[in-house]
Symmetry: C4
Subunit: 123 residues, 4 copies
């Protein structure tokens, strides 16, 4: 069953860098949980926005039909890795309806989430 929207935004984003703070800060990472409950593969593009330079992207991800994908921003590599210690926002567009939830994970405790919120979706 298709459910969701094709345009999403997460205004908050921040990946701590290795030069800041104690070790726990290093182990958390940003994630976007992407659900494609429909019958067709979803081709997804992610643009990253910054405070002091032009947007970067698109990053491309395919979420197959009837599958979920927990995307970690830390793992994005093309066209470039996500800078640490830098506030950013993301806009996520898909050719099929998807549902997006923003989550920050703490890898010290087997993927426990520190926070989570539904992303903003556009009708």
């Amino acid at each position: 069953m298709p459910i969701g929207r094709k345009v999403w935004a997460i205004a908050e984003g921040y990946i701590p860098g290795s030069s800041h703070g104690p070790e726990p800060a290093l182990t958390s990472h940003e994630a976007a949980c992407l659900l494609n409950a429909g019958d067709r593969d979803a081709h997804i593009e992610i643009m990253l926005y910054f405070s002091d330079r032009d947007p970067v992207g698109p990053y491309r991800v395919v979420v197959p039909a009837r599958r979920t994908y927990h995307l970690r921003f830390n793992d994005l590599q093309e066209p470039e890795s996500v800078p640490r210690d830098t506030p950013y926002s993301s806009v996520i567009t898909s050719d099929e309806p998807i549902v997006v939830q923003h989550t920050r994970l703490d890898s010290r405790q087997a993927e426990n989430a520190l926070l989570s919120t539904i992303a903003y979706s556009e009708a």
Copy 2:
């Protein structure tokens, strides 16, 4: 008074397994708080989506009229228990309007929530 929607989705889901991390990780569990404020019982079906296999379900729950139900994903058994250490998403459909909130509980402190967010709802 009926309030809510009939189709909901929670993109983020993860139940830590016994093989990962220290003991606190074992005591948290995923929950979906389901409110049926209407005058008719709500018959609810939950489908679970994974990253590498077909969806599982439906799991079936009845929330009586004018009642709330704090469903723990850890407790789901039919058609199969929810795998640990595995990202999943859920789609929740109801024959009556309901309101769904996603919560992760920490049972060490008498049901204190670690995070909570309204689920995505479809008009």
Copy 3:
């Protein structure tokens, strides 16, 4: 400027009781932040829903024009106090548009929030 909706729901609710867990559990409390940005006082009614008995309420609150009110569920007294160690949900209705955010506070640290999410609103 009026902003908001007249019907809101918070599916998740739980106030730890004195018989459970260590002291920190006792110091957190549930809150609903109610914003009335309009030019007329908002007369608000709150109904509480439980898993095993009929709803309780209405609890009545007035939020004056152009004011905010951080309501603590722990402080509700009429028609009865909110039971501890008991899952509940709330439906909040207002005669004027308001905005509602669900927050759990930790009083040990000067009102630091442990979690927060926008409530569900009905058009």
Copy 4:
């Protein structure tokens, strides 16, 4: 690509003051992440609402086209700084569509968020 809404509200707000609690309470701060993904600069006005006095503002911020801005309420100065130990709410209006996410940061750990939720938006 423009995405978002022009009117937003965050019902929950609280900045701990120096006279309350242990040091960790002093290091957290409120933030609103503001994304302007469009091609025109967004001129933003913020009004703060209190429980016992008239609203204060507008505070003015410009978020350039295709930029994000992580606004800290602690840093607002004109027309006056945000009082500590005081519950408040905020209404954020923009002449261009933006996306707003409410976040509370913990500066002890390189900007780790303690909580985050999408703000309420008005169509």
